[in-house]
Amino acid sequence: MLRRPAIVHVTVNYLAQVKRAAGVSGERVAIPANCTLAQLILQLASQHEAAFRAMVLDFTGQPQTALLYAVGDSQADLSHALSDGDVVTILAPMAGG
């Protein structure tokens, strides 16, 4: 019987102000198998600077719901369970003009 790996890898892309706060446009991240999007955000927050945490966490320290998350090319909820090889995008609202 095959055992599921304990660790899987996802690619995270950052857009707009989240990218600026992260300091990188994207990164490959190791996460526990069956990790949800919310758990990924918490892990990323722990690995980045304060400006990033302020962008992706709310005042209670939970993942910010006022951002848009996509897995692949589809919008995803924070409860979405991630799989090995998923590409996650974190989008901040843009305005500009």
Binding site: L15, A16, Q17, R20, A21, A51, A54, M55, D58, F59, Q64, T65, A66, L67, L68, A70, D73, S74, Q75, T89, L91, A92, P93, M94, A95, G96, G97
Partner: protein, 265 residues
């Protein structure tokens, strides 16, 4: 059945001469042009994005543009706000934009409003138009327009940019996710200041103008339920499939309304 003849303003010989090159577009023709001529669009802010968008709508012959933008031109606006000019620094932006567009196309009507959209004026502005171009630098202003669009059943094209990135969302009340389905509120750390190249702002302004032309004329297929995301730094574009939030505080109870181009026949 077509009812072009019953529209308030049929095409004139001047219209046919001016728009000759687009009248030949497939599935557009005199009917599409007549629809544009009898349409009104609210353009919220006429800066780098909205100014280019308004310029393209004027070029295409949208009958009336209501331009909402408060404040005077600053010299640091001039890297992107193409309806302005150097001599206008210190003067009202919206009057310069209106003058420029009237000079460019005297066949259409331009109504300047020297104020930004607000809780006080939004319903009065939106109730008079067929569609909304959302191009404001403040996200709170965009959410305000989104609420009015849903409340009054008007399609909204949201054009946004940051540095070399662009986003475009078409909101059709009752049919598509609205902006609040995507971003229920402005993130606390969101910053107003944005790096901007005029060419990036103008790119998304042109894309938004074309979506409005399509909606008003009943041409092609707007990217409903999708967000166009692009980065001109790498010249990459993609669509993100969006979902309506069944608990959305803004649009959860909204009934489907046809796009203007779908309800004229």
């Amino acid at each position: 059945m077509t009812i072009i003849s019953s529209m308030a303003n049929p095409l004139t010989p001047d219209d046919r001469a001016r728009y000759e090159w687009q009248l030949a577009a497939t599935d557009f023709g005199e009917e599409g042009q007549t629809r544009l001529k009898n349409s009104t669009v609210l353009v919220s802010r006429i800066g780098g994005v909205g100014g280019t968008l308004a310029h393209q709508l004027a070029a295409a012959g949208v009958g009336k543009l209501i331009l909402a933008h408060a404040g005077n031109l600053r010299v640091d606006d001039l890297n992107r706000q193409l309806l302005m000019n150097q001599a206008g620094v210190g003067q009202a932006r919206v009057e310069q934009a209106a003058r420029r567009l009237r000079e460019f196309n005297p066949l259409i009507e331009i109504e300047p409003a020297a104020e930004n959209v607000s809780e006080q004026n939004i319903d009065a502005l939106v109730s008079r138009v067929d569609a909304i171009a959302s191009c404001a630098p403040l996200f709170a202003e965009r959410l305000l327009m989104n609420r009015a669009a849903v409340r009054l059943g008007k399609p909204l094209v949201d054009c946004a940019m940051y540095e070399t990135e662009i986003q475009l969302v078409v909101v059709v009340p009752g049919q598509t996710p609205c902006l609040a389905c995507l971003y229920p509120a402005e993130p606390p750390a969101w910053q107003r200041r944005f790096p901007v190249f005029g060419a990036v702002a103008g790119t998304v302004g042109c894309l938004g103008a074309m979506e409005l032309i399509k909606i008003l004329a009943g041409l092609g297929e707007p990217p409903t339920g999708r967000m166009l995301v692009g980065d001109l730094r790498t010249m990459t574009f993609r669509s993100v499939q969006l979902r309506r939030d069944p608990a959305c505080a803004v649009c959860a109870g909204a009934s489907p309304r046809p796009l203007r181009g779908e309800c004229i026949d």
